[in-house]
Symmetry: C2
Subunit: 570 residues, 2 copies
């Protein structure tokens, strides 16, 4: 059989094998070789926390197809027609000669391999803290199967009573859950930033997530820097700028950096964030060289800025597109909006697009709309409250992002995905208000929470609703007796004992919303009214009534449901 083209792929995880198999299906005459520097390839790295937790019982499951066929070299050769060569490290790309210089890690021998088209799928490497003691036994990143085996073996051997996770990003939190939930390890997370996922979610949702992590036994320290690892021949203590934490195991999960050295050395453009620059066809600045996955920089479709989005889902979709384009199709990957989801014990934290801080940083005059609402018909037994943030550009009414936290895990991710699909197309508040969600009581409310969230944004943008966010309320409540404020509880049925306790406060009143017009005289004349109800709906309606009476007020978004979910004791 004559060869149509020689395709060389550098990197054997996620994107590399995906692109290789796709080109081979489209162009069976292509000669396709994948080079992998280690002995492991085509494994699901995102599954490592679940292997450590025990949800995945055998590490081999991370390297099989969905029907338990091991994705080993013979599998790729016989079922896919792709040669995967392990333990071969690419040392240099020689663009003039169209070869790659490689080293056989077993023998040390080097050779030049020719290509017609090259795919760079070199992935990313875990960042180091560069703290003293970081190489002690008992400290690991979570980046490959060797790390996975090392951690799991320590845990399963009962060697880990206390663990410290450095970094409260996705992997750090997933590892913390694995340790605390399945192994009962005393687990502490140390994060340098002042909140959980500061670039992805609001302080309010972050606080809710922290509450839930702590409820499940994980100790969380924010705004705290790890300065050293200590121990006698193995890790015994993690030292931060605020305390010393005993630990048998430390996970360093402080992000990753793109492996773009090969590309840079070959004269290909690399972005300031370290990712290889590609066009929408995923070609590098050399049109015969494609790149994708964790090693590239990607346009954010909302801001136009380049970002780094190291996720298996990106790698898989990009791999297919590179395969298509290698076969002569003209498929594009224009960028992404940055969707995410993470399971935190019995809750999901998820979002897409920009959070308020991110939107402001990108130059938008944006506002955050927070809503707590039952996620399905209020009379249906399996309902639960869902907590959502919607970030909106004031001038254009364009939706910039949405984030959510709830125990209804698949339901909230489903909502986030709806918005993710529409974000690149310029979704407005008005369109989201009317987006067509499948309805029946076991699945949704008649006015779906996504529609309701957009309606809340509409009311806010129109100035009808002047809210205060639940985290801002938390600050107010901490100094509840300050001058100038009066808390007005407008619920129809305030809970008994606690309501009575609160009513002893000089500036706490309870008047059901429907009685406000007849009881305006009871309101203190000189104070700003802070309106409180269960989830915010009646507070909003009370605000309209008070507007009619010429009284200034602010209404707590999400109501007591959101405030209490944040751990504020009202």
């Amino acid at each position: 059989m004559s060869i149509s083209q020689r395709v060389l792929v550098i990197g054997g995880v996620a994107l590399g094998p995906k692109a290789a198999c796709r080109i081979k299906r489209l162009d069976p005459h292509a000669d396709v070789t994948v080079l992998e520097a280690t002995s492991h390839f085509s494994y699901g790295g995102c599954g490592i926390p679940y292997y450590v937790s025990g949800d995945v019982s055998d590490i081999k499951e991370l390297s099989t197809t969905s029907f338990h066929v091991l994705r080993d070299a013979p599998f790729f050769r016989d079922a896919k027609g792709v040669a995967i060569l392990a333990n071969i490290r690419a040392l240099a790309i020689n663009r003039d000669k169209k070869t790659v210089t490689v080293r056989h890690e077993s023998s040390g021998a080097t050779e030049d391999l020719p290509y017609d088209k090259l795919v760079i799928a070199t992935g990313a490497s875990p960042r180091r803290l560069n703290a003293p003691g970081e190489d002690l036994p008992g400290i690991s990143a979570v980046a490959n199967l060797a790390h996975a085996a090392y951690i799991k073996d320590m845990v399963a051997a009962g060697k880990v009573g206390k663990a410290v996770v450095v970094g409260a990003g996705f992997i750090g939190l997933e590892m913390a859950e694995a340790f605390a939930d399945m192994w009962g390890i005393e687990t502490t997370v140390v994060e340098f930033m002042p909140q959980l996922m500061p670039n992805l979610v609001s302080p309010g949702l972050a606080t809710m997530a922290v509450q839930n992590l702590e409820k499940h036994g994980v100790t969380m320290h924010f705004g705290e820097k790890v300065v050293a690892f200590e121990g006698d021949g193995k890790l015994e203590r993690v030292v931060t700028d605020k305390r010393v934490i005993e630990a048998d195991l430390a996970i360093v999960a402080v992000g990753v950096t793109p492996n773009s050295e090969l590309a840079k050395a070959a004269g290909l453009d690399v972005a300031p964030n370290g990712g290889i620059v590609v066009n929408e066809y995923l070609q590098t600045t050399d049109p015969d060289i494609y790149a994708g996955g964790d090693c590239i920089a990607l346009p954010n479709l909302l801001t136009g800025q380049l970002m780094h989005l190291p996720m298996g889902s990106m790698a898989n979709r990009q791999g297919r597109i590179i395969g298509d384009n290698l076969a002569g199709l003209q498929r594009t990957f224009p960028g992404a909006v940055g969707s995410f989801c993470v399971k935190l014990f019995d809750h999901a934290l998820t979002g897409t697009g920009l959070c308020l801080a991110g939107a402001k940083r990108a130059g938008y005059d944006a506002v955050n709309v927070h809503l707590s609402q039952l996620d399905r018909a209020h009379f249906y037994p399996s309902k639960a409250l869902m907590y959502l943030d919607l970030v909106v550009d004031k001038a254009t009414r364009r939706v910039l992002g949405i984030q959510g936290f709830t125990s209804q895990m698949d339901a909230v991710v489903g909502r986030i995905n709806v918005v993710a699909g529409l974000l690149p197309r310029g979704l407005t508040v008005d369109e989201l208000s009317n987006v067509e969600m499948a309805y029946s009581p076991p699945f949704a409310a008649a006015m779906d929470i996504l529609n309701a969230l957009a309606n809340a944004a509409d009311n806010l943008l129109a100035g009808r609703h002047r809210p205060v966010s639940p985290d801002e309320f938390g600050t107010m409540w901490a100094d509840a007796e300050q001058d100038g404020l009066c808390f007005l509880d407008v619920r129809a049925n305030p809970d008994g004992v606690r309501a009575v306790e609160r009513l002893k406060m000089p500036n706490y009143l309870a008047i059901p919303q429907d009685e406000i017009p007849g009881r305006l005289g009871e309101l203190p004349a000189d104070k700003k009214l802070v309106l409180l109800c269960n989830t915010g709906t009646r507070a909003y309606e009370a605000q309209i009534m008070l507007d009619q009476a010429g009284r200034e007020s602010i209404a707590v978004q999400g109501g007591l449901a959101s405030v209490e979910k944040m751990g504020v004791d009202v």
Copy 2:
């Protein structure tokens, strides 16, 4: 307080109260009155099956807010500023005088009520079969709280050992589940059409749903017409054109017709389907008269044709838009694509847009792509198979609809909603292939099933994949020894005993996909190969290998997973 405008609303369920409350919030000076012909208003009619089942314990819960406040007339008056008048029936709309003639049902007195703006929210009425005996005690529709109480009282009193549900639409199936699941009633569903939901899902998904209903004890009869109800003073038997079924209770759930008589008598345009014609502002042909909810005709955004979509979600969203427009905003409701979801015991059946039959009826040269795949990372414990159909226009690659069936209920509805949001914007296969789904192993596969479904469509449209649908395979298998076919099982690990049994068949072969190139000689030269694997993936790859060898084949979409889910014993 001076009155800005007099708004009269005819109809006190769903859309009527929603529009009334919204206009009152936007324009507190409006005088807003809602007329309801019965004594019940503002109840969640969609909850009736769950009240009958016992999921909802008190019928009052269907008439409360999410925080247990009864939505009665004083509630609407005090909390919303809206007058709701019960037991007042609108008899005529006098457009010249801008009045509505009403009758007080208690006294029989009539009067004319003036309006500046009128909202018609008259809803829909259940269709009758017009069969002999249809008015016997023990026969009921499921349209209002009186029906709900009647049915629940009979069931709870132990008077129902056997029930017949006429109609396999949403309400019929929900009622069948309520009877069989919670009360152990011997339940039979009789449907005139030859399959379940023929205008909404493919024969394949319909068969899967029927399998699941029958597994849970519901007897299903299709293509069967009810010709009479019989009994001595109360229902005892339902007579069809094929059999006589004993029954203590019969539910007639054969659809609804819009209540458009008032509108028609007033000279407003009414569509051939009986729905009141409205423009995108939800104005009737009289600009001072709005209409929405179950009584209107609605444009299908895919076909441009008028449809009738009697759903609480439509009514709620339209009600808000009517309220907006009454207040002088210019909000539009351009139409819908027709999303739905229904819980059938432990599975969900859901979809949006057109099924293949609907697409063909609308004039599209369309194709259906069927996929079965795990809905999240294959190594994650809570994964399950999801069965999806994607309907695509061949010429334009435009997505026309998607339908799904699975036990992962929220997860599949989430996928459907993503497509529903994008359908009105001209979603193509290529865009769906790259739609950004939030990923982590507890929620999705790295290549989300939506992306995978679009990829399957791409392969099919390109001619790389030449499939046979699982229901067509079912027909082939029923006559498995017919000439000209050879079933080729390409799994790596076919199940033991059954595989051996099958191999006794003269035209059943098992060759793992990766061994095909080396074993071409074993394939019968004169037969068309029908390729089978677990979920269709390896069959597709085998097809590409066989193409290379010049051998004709078809690959079973969804593989054994889909075929067996349909109850075919392979």
